[in-house]
Symmetry: C2
């Protein structure tokens, strides 16, 4: 059990801290039951204090969104983002930095437009859904209040028409609004095609009354004819509603976009090597890719900045934590968690060694809740976290949350996950739109995020117990 006492790398003037660490670790070892050391908790409090003054995360967010800008997975800019992440992680002095290849089919947007035809002719602001084929269609639109209404349309009833699914999204602190309307994007086009529609329009899944529309992936089921599919900005969806009250509305939808050949991008991984059990990992994830219209500031440069800054603070402690901490900048989250799936395949043998996995991918709002996958695990850890997170205004929400998107594949294989509830009230003003730019990032909230991520990651890395990870 001596490895338990390995201090990792030390710095001058840390002798007292080290002595305390050894003492507490010894006590824990004797008691057998997992517990949280007072020394770890004290260090976590230091991390919180430091995090609340942290500007590294903001600097990283600024750097990625400015120097690289939009970085659609598979694009030339995505390749620059990978180089950026490798360079930054190295500069930050993590113990190891490496990349793992992720191969997927390319999809790109070249141009897009729509217009109302006839006596009220005028342009509409639309954006192609990711995965849409290109093509130009001119047809009358048929409005449905929801995907369920669309599903209820008789077979063939949309022959030669453009379906228009017009579900209004509410503004909430959490995912409630999105959950209610997301199927309009993910499933609507496929359903419309099966009813004979030649094109698909939907009220954008967003809460922003600027002339921006939210992109995001759609897919067509096996054997379903892909049709051009686009989101309509909120003012334009309202305009279609008003025009429909005046009579039939014909629309021309012209999308130049579509799938290309295979391309390779990379998950970029940085590691702080644990002092006691280096082959047990706490995973902090964000995703490096973004949609192509904004600069992906809240989705997800913020996650990249928060996780790197949190890990950097831990790496700067005089002693390496017991477990390793991995920061993963996932490739191609936006087109289907492609990097995360690849990671789960590549590291399938180590699922049980991924002690706890956590992603930051809900923007740049303040955190207000936390939870993790199994309340049956980590009792003393939970008590300690309640205290620590309480100082940041983050309450334990038992039963709430779930794995972040890029944690889903590993969680599916049995890895335990942690979760933070993040204030998303403004998130869907920006998500997947041209408006997702650096100016929208809230510096104070980012600091709170960094503090919380650092404290949680450190405490999990120090905790003697398990969180329930086991290969399924």
């Amino acid at each position: 059990m001596t490895s338990r006492h390995m201090p990792g790398r030390s710095r001058p003037g840390t002798a007292i801290l080290l002595a305390a660490a050894i003492l507490f670790a010894g006590v824990a070892a004797e008691s057998k039951a997992a517990k949280v050391s007072a020394e770890s908790e004290s260090t976590a409090r230091q991390l919180i204090e430091q995090g609340l003054k942290d500007d590294l995360a903001m600097n990283l967010i600024e750097s990625l969104t400015t120097e690289v800008g939009p970085r659609l997975a598979g694009s030339e800019a995505d390749a620059r983002a990978v180089q950026w992440a490798v360079r930054k992680y190295r500069e930050l002095g993590f113990d190891k930095v490496w990349t793992e290849p992720v191969t997927f089919r390319n999809w790109e947007r070249r141009s897009e437009g729509a217009e109302v035809l006839g006596e009220h002719r005028q342009k509409l602001v639309v954006t192609a859904l990711g995965g849409s084929p290109g093509g130009t269609v001119e047809a009358e639109i048929v409005r449905f209040g929801s995907v369920d209404e669309l599903r209820a349309a008789p077979a063939g009833s949309l022959s030669g028409k453009i379906a228009f699914v017009d579900t209004v999204m509410g503004r909430y602190k959490d995912m409630t609004g999105y959950n209610g309307v997301g199927s309009a994007r993910s499933q609507g086009p496929s359903v419309a095609s099966q009813k004979g529609a030649v094109g698909y329009l939907m009220r954008t899944v967003g809460t922003n009354y600027s002339r921006v529309a939210n992109t995001g992936m759609t897919s067509f089921g096996e054997g379903v004819q892909p049709i051009p599919a686009a989101a309509v900005a909120l003012p334009d969806a309202d305009q279609l509603d008003r025009l429909l009250k005046k009579g039939p509305v014909r629309v021309r939808l012209a999308l130049d976009c579509g799938w290309g050949g295979e391309v390779t991008s990379y998950n970029v991984i940085a590691e702080i090597t644990g002092s006691k059990t280096p082959r047990e990992w706490i995973l902090l994830g964000g995703h490096l890719d973004s949609w192509d219209m904004g600069t992906g500031a809240v989705d997800d440069a913020s996650g990249i900045g928060i996780t790197a800054a949190a890990a950097k603070m831990i790496a700067s402690l005089p002693v390496r934590p017991k477990r390793s901490i991995r920061v993963v900048a996932f490739a191609n989250e936006e087109r289907g968690l492609i990097g995360a799936r690849q990671y789960a395949v590549a590291h399938a043998a180590d699922v049980a060694k991924h002690v706890l996995a956590l992603e930051s991918d809900s923007g740049s709002g303040r955190l207000y809740a936390f939870n993790y996958s199994s309340a049956a695990e980590g009792g003393p850890f939970l008590e300690s976290m309640k205290n620590l997170m309480g100082t940041l205004g983050i309450e334990h929400a038992g039963g709430a949350g779930g794995p972040g998107p890029d944690v889903v594949p590993m969680a599916g294989k049995g890895a335990a996950w942690a979760w933070f509830g993040q204030d998303m009230t403004r998130y869907f003003d920006l998500h997947h739109t041209a408006d997702d730019t650096f100016d929208k990032v809230d510096r104070q909230a980012i600091r709170q995020n960094v503090a919380a991520f650092a404290a949680l990651a450190y405490m999990a890395a120090q905790y003697d117990g398990s969180f329930g990870s086991a290969k399924k």
Copy 2:
């Protein structure tokens, strides 16, 4: 003096009101000095009460912005707008409706784009300034904090460069913010060209952090080489600032836009014929054209709706007012008050008969102040207006304001003007952008505007005295 008692059109059940009108009018005639009758004031109070429940203005705004949509002067949509105005004014039952031709050079936007080149390559959101020539230029940008800084640049120092004027606009209730930066749009391109610049970019004159840029006219002085000139959305201007801190920035600016041949549009005029002095007019103006990206809801469908609805309430009174009221939907305000200049030429002989002229062209915010051109005129009128406007939260602001844009040409010839101070706090989020759409119009504020315009127009039409109009 019998014409003074002419009741115009009457309706059943109005005998008592008419008798009172005749009585008060008789008293006024005997006293010689101009005064305001208690009956007029009582009617004005009715108009205010009615106006605060008015939905006609909103219906007109909705109709124009939905059925016609964007209506750049000289475009096919502008012609539809003229037809719309003629039809609506006729439907509203004004005594006369006619058009007066306005001829001007066409300018149109076809496409526009910009991108940063080199290692940080990414697209920028820009919009061509009205009057810009088309063209594609690639060059390093040189930043100036203001047009004054640009003016101070040595001759020839911008040879082969793109000038970037980067003045931040503040958010104010009035025009303060705009006044400080408007010259970047009106004069900047011309100054830049004279210094040798091949292109011009400016931080957009606006307060909206969405990815929209504000267009608006610029012009090049006599003998100055026109260069492609565009406004950069606020997030993109910030992005250029950050990139400039990292090194030289090369930009490709590609505008397809420019001047065409002569086209003819129309001022559309509706009149309520006065019962006593039909050849004396109170003019209520708005402009029918809009920029081409939004649907011109606050600029200036609101003005069209407010003035028509205010006049319609007066036209619905049992008795025509003493003076005539003209509602003018001016053509091509946006490219230089072209319709208003034409009106001033066509009606130059009648300047002194334009007793008071007022425009609604500051959006859809609440009114908070009023004033008119000469405090020396209309004393009793002023006292009465203070009372009436006070009920709407509108205070007299002596010395403040000026003629609305389309009133300027007539005011220049000697016509008296009235002015309302309108809350413009949110106006420059929308002005000349794609975001100027119907959803931004504030129904309650529009009602307050209608009430105030109706009361002021009616009182001015009833007032025995002058406001100082005289041919200069």
